[in-house]
């Protein structure tokens, strides 16, 4: 660590343009709230979320909600929305707090290797698809 590392808040100055622009849609919040959304967590809009007109939302929230009409991974949602991953996580946390989206239980517990029959199916698929 260098001596000048104590300037950890230097980015709050007038030069902090990129930070402010990207996170303006999240109200400046850089961390998700109630839920964390892993790259490969699947999310889906809830029935309440599907009734979008009933929820007061920003366009970015609506874009995320529309993409989550069917279960979709957080990574893919971020890519399709064109928003940075960190931004999507904040938007998802907002929607989760509103009861508009929910994360789905993964088919395989995090950190666990999938069943061997799945791996064999993947190998077959890679060779013949």
């Amino acid at each position: 660590m260098r001596a000048d590392d104590d300037d950890a808040h230097e980015w709050l100055d007038a030069e902090a343009g990129p930070l402010v622009r990207s996170y303006a849609v999240t109200g400046g919040r850089a961390r998700p709230g109630a839920a964390t959304f892993d790259l490969l967590t699947y999310v889906v809009a809830t029935p309440a979320g599907q009734r979008r007109h009933a929820v007061h939302l920003q366009p970015e929230h609506r874009a995320v909600l529309a993409l989550a009409a069917e279960p979709i991974s957080v990574a893919e949602l971020s890519s399709r929305a064109g928003f940075a991953l960190g931004v999507v996580r904040v938007l998802l946390a907002d929607l989760f707090d509103e009861g508009a989206v929910k994360p789905l239980a993964p088919a395989v517990a995090p950190g666990h290797i999938p069943d061997d029959h799945i791996l064999q199916a993947v190998i077959l698929g890679l060779r013949h698809a």
């Binding site: 980015w11 100055d13 490969l40």
Partner: protein, 199 residues
């Protein structure tokens, strides 16, 4: 969870594609899968500001990193997600999240710049992430054999080393097969893998 929605979630498998700049990561992800850009915007960590030359962007404390991200859907049951790891040391703070829960990694090596693959190999060894080394034969000709590459990289004997051409879909996908077979061998033991493969 056993409700109707839980059943609709496929098994999501994360595979990392690593290697030095120009080793063919983007090409491989694009050849073997449906590729999509994935943007991540991160505040540079102190490690990042320390190791990288930020001249010209002195005031910038955030950086947008675009990762190569690809998807291969296997029937209804599984989806492979490929993530091309950012090639610069200063983006390694992104790797930790990528590495968590990864089934394994492909380290692409270019024999003209073998040393470029050392950091990736080091990283996966330390994190205990299973990996294979795929030597990308850009020009259709590879002067070094598998054994020479293995020796030069000081790889453990069980780490697979394969030759490939990442411009070729079949070749790239065969690298992924080698990785998954390697993971199966680690998980089940070589004997079980062989039995499953021949039955």
């Amino acid at each position: 969870m056993r409700d109707e929605r839980a059943r609709s979630v496929p098994t999501a498998i994360k595979i990392l594609v690593a290697g030095g700049f120009g080793a063919g990561k983007t090409t491989m992800v694009g050849t073997v899968s449906e590729i999509m850009p994935l943007h991540t915007e991160e505040v540079l960590t102190s490690a990042g500001t320390e190791s990288d030359d930020l001249s010209g962007v002195e005031a910038k404390r955030t950086t947008t990193v675009t990762m190569d991200f690809g998807r291969i859907t296997i029937g209804d049951s599984a989806v492979l997600y490929l993530f091309g790891t950012p090639g610069q040391d200063r983006f390694w703070f992104l790797w930790d999240e990528l590495a968590i829960g990864a089934l394994g990694a492909v380290v692409l090596a270019d024999t003209r710049r073998l040393a470029d693959s050392f950091p990736s190999i080091d990283y996966f060894e330390r994190r205990g992430v299973p990996f294979v080394v795929a030597v990308n034969c850009f020009h259709g000709h590879q002067p070094f054999g598998v054994d020479a590459v293995r020796g030069a990289l000081s790889l453990d004997p069980e780490v697979p080393v394969v030759m490939c051409d990442v411009r070729d879909r079949r070749s790239g996908r065969e690298v992924l097969v080698t990785l998954i077979e390697h993971v199966r061998a680690i998980t089940l033991g070589p004997a079980h893998t062989a039995a499953a493969g021949t039955s």
